[in-house]
């Protein structure tokens, strides 16, 4: 189910009296055609909880090598009492069976704590770029805690938000065929603006409005996936953000340097998941420092629920978080890395499988895999693999019942261009690989 607008601005921002910036951002003559509205819904009690969370990020210690965090016993006890899916997990952490995404996707309500107030529930449908779409439930507090997490990263480099009501603090940049876009405000940041924009020129009255709008509001922080940040570099607005934050896919060193030079600011690569938001940050190649002491990370063997030796690569598995609608216990992320302690602090190294997969249209423009996933989600596929060769030709394999070759071909040609060569294999039976969606490409950043 797609998101729909269902609130008034007063409901979106219960604690913000001055909505002038919001109106200005929406009504600006160069503004994009925003297609959505959204707010943080933080009330007084919620805001206080975000403050508490912020303090805990500074004061709570990380676990020691070979040990569980001090909070684990209390957390597991709480989970057993509160969360139907965890009622019988027992108290021996290592004996608890791990959890995978399809289990949550099938029954998200089983992971909601009894104490969670249902009127606070937020639903986010993941794009399902590499897996089937999933509804992730959250509350306004855990949702808003993304900002303290980000602040804790930035403050290590003495970067701080101005927290001024008439400024834009954050701009989430996308470059997709279509996505939700909106202007919003942040209660946590004192009513400062938050934008989500799509650089696709079709979303703007004039293509040059993209630069005009960004330059006019000069966001303090720019976030986006590597594709979107590259696109912004090509659009080249004359803005001076305090930092840029890349997520969703690995930001390679070349791209990082390009962005740093062009925008004159540090660029952070964040490892995050929709299911629990931020996990770790990288400011140097191949090493991601964990940022959340309340989210325990272990590295498990892909075949058994046993931890691999320290330093060996295995599946990143997380426990904890602060979301009463989805507390996680030994949740396998599907991503692989090793865990090493650098000066006593846990870091993810050799993070695999998040390299951007670059697809090009017939006219050699970028095509974001999210757009491919979105388009193909309208066709009833059990799963698919898509590979683009160096000559731009495509190999597409799909499986599922009653697949229509013509409809799939039309969808792919609409995405890539009519003249692109396409080799298609359809089957009813799914292959043995557990991965439902797989993208590969022979095109790399350097060639572009």
């Amino acid at each position: 189910m797609n998101p729909v607008e269902g609130l008034t601005d007063r409901q979106r921002f219960p604690l913000i009296d001055d909505l002038r910036l919001l109106h200005r951002l929406r009504q600006d003559e160069s503004a994009p055609r925003f297609n959505f509205a959204s707010g943080d819904r933080l009330d007084g009690a919620g805001l206080e909880k975000v403050h508490e969370y912020r303090r805990s990020l500074d004061t709570q210690p990380f676990w020691l090598p070979g040990q569980l965090p001090a909070w684990m016993t209390t957390f597991l006890d709480w989970c057993q009492r509160q969360v139907p899916a965890y009622r019988d997990i027992g108290s021996c952490f290592q004996a608890i069976p791990t959890l995978r995404r399809p289990q949550i996707a099938a029954r998200p309500w089983q992971y909601v704590a009894a104490e969670a107030r249902l009127e606070d529930m937020l639903v986010f449908c993941t794009s399902g770029t590499t897996e089937a779409p999933m509804d992730v439930l959250a509350d306004p507090v855990s949702q808003a805690c993304w900002l303290p997490q980000l602040e804790s990263i930035l403050e290590r480099d003495r970067i701080r938000f101005d927290r001024e009501g008439q400024k834009v603090a954050i701009c989430l940049v996308c470059d997709q065929k279509d996505t939700l876009t909106y202007a919003s405000l942040s209660t946590w940041l004192g009513g400062a603006g938050v934008l989500k924009i799509n650089l696709n020129p079709e979303e703007w009255s004039k293509p040059e409005d993209r630069c005009v709008y960004l330059e006019r509001y000069n966001p303090e922080i720019i976030t986006g996936d590597p594709f979107s940040l590259w696109s912004m570099a090509r659009v080249a607005p004359r803005i001076r953000p305090k930092a840029m934050v890349s997520s969703a896919m690995t930001l390679h060193q070349g791209a990082r340097q390009l962005l740093q030079q062009q925008f004159g600011c540090p660029v952070y690569d964040i490892y995050s998941l929709t299911e629990c938001r931020m996990i770790a940050v990288s400011t140097e190649p191949a090493r991601y420092r964990l940022i959340r002491p309340e989210l325990y990370v272990e590295i498990l063997s892909p075949d058994s629920d046993i931890a691999v030796p320290e330093g060996a690569v295995g599946e990143i598995t997380v426990t904890g978080g602060n979301n009463p609608f989805l507390p996680l216990v030994r949740y396998r992320t599907g991503d692989f890395a090793s865990l090493k302690y650098v000066d006593g602090h846990p870091c993810l190294c050799d993070l695999e499988g998040r390299s951007p997969v670059i697809f090009l249209r017939q006219n050699r423009e970028f095509l974001n895999p999210i757009d491919i996933s979105r388009a193909l989600s309208k066709v009833a596929l059990a799963g698919f693999t898509l590979h683009q060769r160096e000559d731009l030709s495509l190999e597409f394999s799909a499986w599922g019942a009653e697949l229509e070759a013509r409809s799939l071909e039309t969808t792919l040609k609409q995405l890539f261009g009519d003249a692109i060569p396409l080799q298609m294999t359809l089957s009813v039976e799914s292959p043995p690989s557990p991965q439902k969606v797989k993208y590969t490409s022979e095109i790399n950043e350097i060639e572009i």
Binding site: P3, D40, R41, P108, W109, L118, M121, L172, S184, S247
Partner: protein, 191 residues
């Protein structure tokens, strides 16, 4: 010395309960119904061989105790089995009548205690457990486990918990579909 009884023997005894024990309790001195308190006190005196024991059980509280009293009457029949003779002082039985039996009486139709095999077994085991008598062929653990498995109060608790969980699931699913939940999730977008 403690007398031995198999659980099936006691179940059989309970299921032989004469219909008079299921009659409605008397509402006053001149009512034709069963004078439950007198019956209970008589059976306790009888099984303890203390015919001069003063009245042990009185009733306070809610006016309509039909369900409780009818189960007490059935218990009086059950306690007439020889296994309970001299199974302890009469006073030890009082907490059973005013406690556990009261609790289950409103959860089960009275007739079921003497017609339904499992309820008859539950009643038999409640009484044996209260008298600290282990059925022949069992040990304390097996007896306790078996009573636990057929315990009406626990069963009803599980049913109630299941019902509450189902209501909660329905409410979460309803909220998931609600417009407000669908909108607000995009606050701050996704990093």
């Amino acid at each position: 010395m403690q007398k031995a009884v198999t659980i099936s023997e006691l179940i059989h005894h309970i299921k032989q309960c004469p219909s008079e024990f299921l009659d409605m309790p008397a509402r006053g001195e001149n009512d034709d119904g069963v004078h439950t308190l007198a019956l209970v006190n008589d059976i306790l005196r009888y099984i303890c061989h203390c015919p001069t024991t003063p009245c042990l059980l009185t009733v306070e509280g809610k006016a309509d105790k039909t369900a409780e009293w009818r189960l007490w009457q059935v218990c009086c029949w059950a306690l007439s089995h020889p296994v309970f003779f001299e199974a302890g002082p009469a006073a030890q039985w009082i907490p059973l009548f005013s406690g556990r039996l009261d609790e289950v009486s409103t959860l089960v139709e009275t007739e079921k205690w003497v017609t339904d095999e499992e309820r008859a077994e539950e009643l038999a085991r409640i009484l044996l457990s209260h008298a600290a008598i282990i059925p022949e062929g069992e040990d304390a653990t097996i007896a306790a486990d078996r009573l636990d498995a057929i315990d009406t109060v626990k069963r009803m608790k599980v049913i109630e918990q299941t019902r509450q969980a189902e209501l909660r699931t329905q409410e979460i699913r309803r909220q998931m579909a609600a417009r407000a939940a669908r909108e607000a999730a995009n606050a701050y977008g996704r990093e």
